[in-house]
């Protein structure tokens, strides 16, 4: 064992000396490799953290949302709906919600106006999301006017700004009282945008949805799980788009790595011949090259991954932010909770380190099994 360790140490020593001898080539390769790992790791870390964040935020949302459909379009919930739902067994709590979209010509962005279930702002006051605070330069106690769809100007006082922690889903939110909301959108009394239901037993959620569809044929129940799945697939899709764009870079790296690793120079082949002639075994030569490949790929992997971690969790993935995060004109700004998934790291490792190690080893193996007498004839 001691002998084996001593041999490995010698091999690593020689490998480091070899790497240092071809500084430009190896540094270039290391740089390209690191950038690739950085990009791939940034995309996967970011989308994974976004999915986690969305799931965390939505964890407190209602189990079922009921919307009414007219000609396949979302319509207002008329009075009397709530009574019918109240008779369905398993529904623990229900609440009519009021919300709508408002296009602000100043920022050319859509806001979501909403009446909160608890602690609604006082009449004439609003609470705004952080993105709105930034885009309109609002602060507490400022006044702001919105022209409603009927052409009337409504003025509100900003009572508060929502915390940044929830910005992923509250960036463009404007909270107001029921009275203000109905006045602003000309909502008829007793009508709601949709209904949020709480179901005590999670196993019963699907049954409640089935009963709802039977009792109210024009209703469309939306389950929380479906929303979560939609979010997840949106991020999956975005991740896929970015990875598809990156595939050209990955391919280019593959070609470069193959070229650099597999295209042994005449000098390297000569060196392998010398090492074999002076008593190195084929296995020693392969091990030495294996260490070389491993050192390059591991360094690139570690540096690339750490850089991606810093990029995503400290600089909010500024390079990929517009593609991966935004679904509106107002981009949410928020700090993601650092999260690393073992499987994700392993997958990335497998797709970056292993192909390189293979690209290095195959040609070396070919060169290493050549007869050592070739060196006598050079």
């Amino acid at each position: 064992m001691k002998l084996w360790l001593a041999k490995q140490r010698y091999l690593i020593d020689f490998t480091l000396a070899s790497l240092a001898r071809r500084k430009t080539r190896n540094l270039g390769l290391l740089l390209v490799y690191t950038v690739l790992v950085f990009m791939l790791a940034s995309v996967t870390l970011y989308t994974h953290a976004l999915r986690q964040e969305a799931a965390r935020v939505l964890a407190a949302s209602p189990e079922v949302i009921v919307q009414r459909m007219v000609a396949g379009r979302h319509d207002l919930i008329p009075p009397g709906y709530m009574e019918k739902i109240g008779r369905i067994r398993g529904v623990q709590k229900m609440e009519g919600r009021l919300w709508g979209y408002y296009y602000d010509a100043v920022t050319k962005a859509n806001y979501t106006f909403m009446v909160p279930a608890e602690n609604p702002p006082a009449a004439g006051e609003i609470v705004v999301g952080p993105a709105l605070e930034r885009s309109r330069g609002l602060a507490k106690n400022n006044g702001i006017s919105f022209r409603s769809y009927s052409g009337k100007l409504h003025t509100f006082i900003v009572a508060d700004v929502l915390p940044q922690a929830s910005e992923l889903v509250s960036a463009d939110l404007v909270l107001m009282s029921e009275q203000n909301f109905r006045a602003f959108f000309d909502y008829p009394a007793g009508h709601y945008t949709d209904i949020a239901l709480s179901v005590a037993n999670p196993q019963e959620v699907r049954n409640v949805a089935v009963k709802l569809a039977a009792a109210l044929p024009d209703a469309r129940p939306i389950l929380r799980d479906e929303v979560l799945r939609t979010y997840a697939s949106i991020y999956d899709w975005r991740e896929g788009i970015v990875l598809a764009l990156l595939s050209a870079a990955i391919l280019a790296f593959g070609i470069l790595a193959w070229e650099k690793a597999s295209g042994l120079s005449a000098e390297e082949k000569r060196e392998i011949g010398i090492l074999k002639a002076i008593g190195w075994e084929t296995g020693d030569v392969i091990k030495m090259k294996f260490w070389e490949g491993l050192l390059i790929s591991l360094t690139a992997f570690l540096v690339g991954f750490v850089a991606a971690y810093v990029h995503v969790f400290h600089f909010a993935a500024s390079l990929f932010e517009p593609v991966l995060k935004g679904w509106a004109v107002l981009y949410p700004r928020f700090q993601l909770t650092p999260h690393i998934d073992g499987l994700q790291v392993a997958t990335l490792f497998f797709f970056t380190v292993v192909p390189y190690a293979a690209a290095v080893l195959v040609p070396i193996w070919k060169a290493a099994i050549t007869d050592p007498d070739s060196v006598m004839r050079s």
Binding site: K2, K7, Y10, I274, T282
Partner: protein
Amino acid sequence: MIELSGIRKAFNQGHDNEYWALDGIDLSIEANKVTALRGPSGSGKTTLLTIVGCLARPTEGRVRLEGEDISGLPERFLTEIRRKRFGFIFQQFNLIKGLSALDNIILPAYPTGRPRREVLDRAEELLAGLKLGHRRHAKVEWLSGGEQQRVAICRALINDPELVIADEPTANLDTHLASEFMGILEGLADQGRTILLTSHDPLVVESDVVQRVIDMRDGKLIHEH
């Protein structure tokens, strides 16, 4: 020490350009002697050297090292014999560029796993013996031809081999350096090492250091002095 019987070596066997570099060699290389193979280019000297040095296997015939047949041994065992018992000095020196003289010298010791201190001490001793201690950290490409050859000699001796094999050792040296090399060779012979070399340089083959000269032509031994 080494006995060769019925050695034949073919290149490109079975192809149109098949060529027999050695054609029926019977030879005994005695221990503690300096033996030189002499002959024109293409006479088979280097090929014979590669077979004696376990760098290649004969197509036909047997090689015995101290009575043991080694011609059929797998590559791994031949490598081990080469590493432990033979030291090589190549015509082009075959040093690894970018590494220092000292790093080149200790290369054959890597696969042995010997303690680094011991290997370095031995390398320093060899460098001092060949008056090259001051160049230990110089990269080999910065060394003169004579210095490069002395580094190659040190490398050949790092594992303390019984047999030193040198292929055309003076081919790249001027007369002065060639004489110096013969002095080194004499020193190695005095230490009791067996030396086998190829050369057609009169300075080498007519030297008193060389005890036996074997002439070769067309892959055959034709004459012995």
